[in-house]
Symmetry: C2
Subunit: 224 residues, 2 copies
DNA sequence: TCGTACACCGTACGTCGTACGCTGTACTAT
DNA sequence: ATAGTACAGCGTACGACGTACGGTGTACGA
């Protein structure tokens, strides 16, 4: 019996679907999704490449499982609090998770069928909105709007070559501004200067748009 | 001289960077970005694989050029009209372009440096917002919010396995609902039913969120 | 006529995903 | 104790990939 348990739980010796998927996520975080190959993954697990196929039918299935595990990291909306706080928390959590796993965003385009964690998440969010007084159709609208914002923001943030305001200031001077002749791009130059002055921070930028959207959704409750 | 011009303009005989990039986009539209290989691309151009490398330094540079050409397809905000109409038109155009080239969205994560068309576009949008009375910082906020929505919506729309309301109704009955036990996913079942009844249309869904965002931005003009 | 530049190509290398078939171990039924 | 079956894992091989490298032919100025 203890031997059986040993096999269920991921242990150092012996593989398991969980160990494979977890290590795949770690590898993708480190090296990007391009650096994730079955051989390399097997290597970090101390196994042969083909052994992975006992736990995963194909690389596609592995990617699906990775995405679903990422979804599982996102905080579900709490039930007790008001809907705006609950949705804000889960949106911020989603944004942080996507920042931790930048490859996940790019993968979503290709994989169409949602995994169980994805479904659980969607159900919980919809429940929160319905309980807050949104009609089924309005809840769908809110869902699309909020998810679009979260995913789109993550996509843009992932393609930023800097993470902090300081790094921005550095890059602006060294890389961006030299590429932007002031007579051709007056407004971009103005923006860049304003951003460097104000100290642009992606996390704050995310909150700004999020709160704007949440406030705009508020009047649509109990209206449908 | 006429022979020289011949070489600048893409003609049927002879390659050119434009012909290569255009055909690459066509191929990616048809087969997805996974189906785009240098060999296949060369094949459709009636050339050898290595010939492409006279016009493109690497596949990465080819992808960058493709993305920039896609940006070039997006309608710029008109100067004469009010800012909401101008931004709505350009957002709808962007959404349509991204729907035409679903692979473009997934590529944005990896390529960090914006091409000339991207810069031109960004400049025009920023100009429109500034002229409408947004402060430089508010214009940046509006830009992030609107672009996030557009990209995120396109990302979600791309992973939908249907395009029209009729196809949704079909898939809901055949594929979705059987996967969603009503006791575990009551709200998703309710949503699905409501959507099938109302006839969900991605294009309308996009407009709904877009107008909500535009209206929410309106009070922020001339305030910074 | 020669030299040089250009446009293009064939071959080769190391990588990828994975089909296929082989090993050894563990357990179950007899 | 023995045979049968399942499982976990591996090695090899195939066709695709991006692309480095070194060609070949044609066009054209000197």
């Amino acid at each position: 019996m203890s031997a059986k348990d040993q096999r269920q739980v991921p242990s150092d010796a012996g593989l398991s679907k969980q160990r494979v998927v977890l290590e795949a996520i770690r590898l993708a975080d480190r090296e990007g999704v391009g650096g994730l190959s079955m051989r390399r993954l097997a290597g970090t697990l101390g196994a042969g490449a083909m052994s992975l196929y006992h736990y995963v039918a194909s690389k596609d299935e592995l990617l699906d499982a990775m995405i679903d595990l990422v979804f599982d990291e996102i905080e579900l909306p709490a039930e007790g609090t008001d809907w705006q706080s609950a949705m804000r928390r889960r949106a911020v959590s989603a944004q942080q998770v996507l920042a931790r796993h930048p490859w996940a965003n790019g993968l979503m385009e290709s994989r169409t069928s949602p995994g169980p964690a994805n479904l659980r998440h969607h159900e919980a969010v919809t429940a929160c909105l319905r309980r807050a007084g949104f009609s089924p159709l309005m809840a769908t609208h809110a869902n699309w709007l909020l998810d679009s914002y979260v995913y789109g923001f993550a996509l843009q943030a992932a393609s930023l070559p800097f993470d902090t305001a300081d790094e921005l200031a550095e890059m602006a001077e060294d890389v961006y501004l030299p590429q932007l002749p002031p007579d051709e791009f007056p407004y971009l130059n103005e923006s860049a200067a304003a951003l460097v002055d104000a100290g642009f921070d992606p996390a704050e930028e995310f909150i700004f748009g999020l709160d704007l959207v949440l406030a705009a959704l508020e009047p649509l409750r109990t209206a449908g």
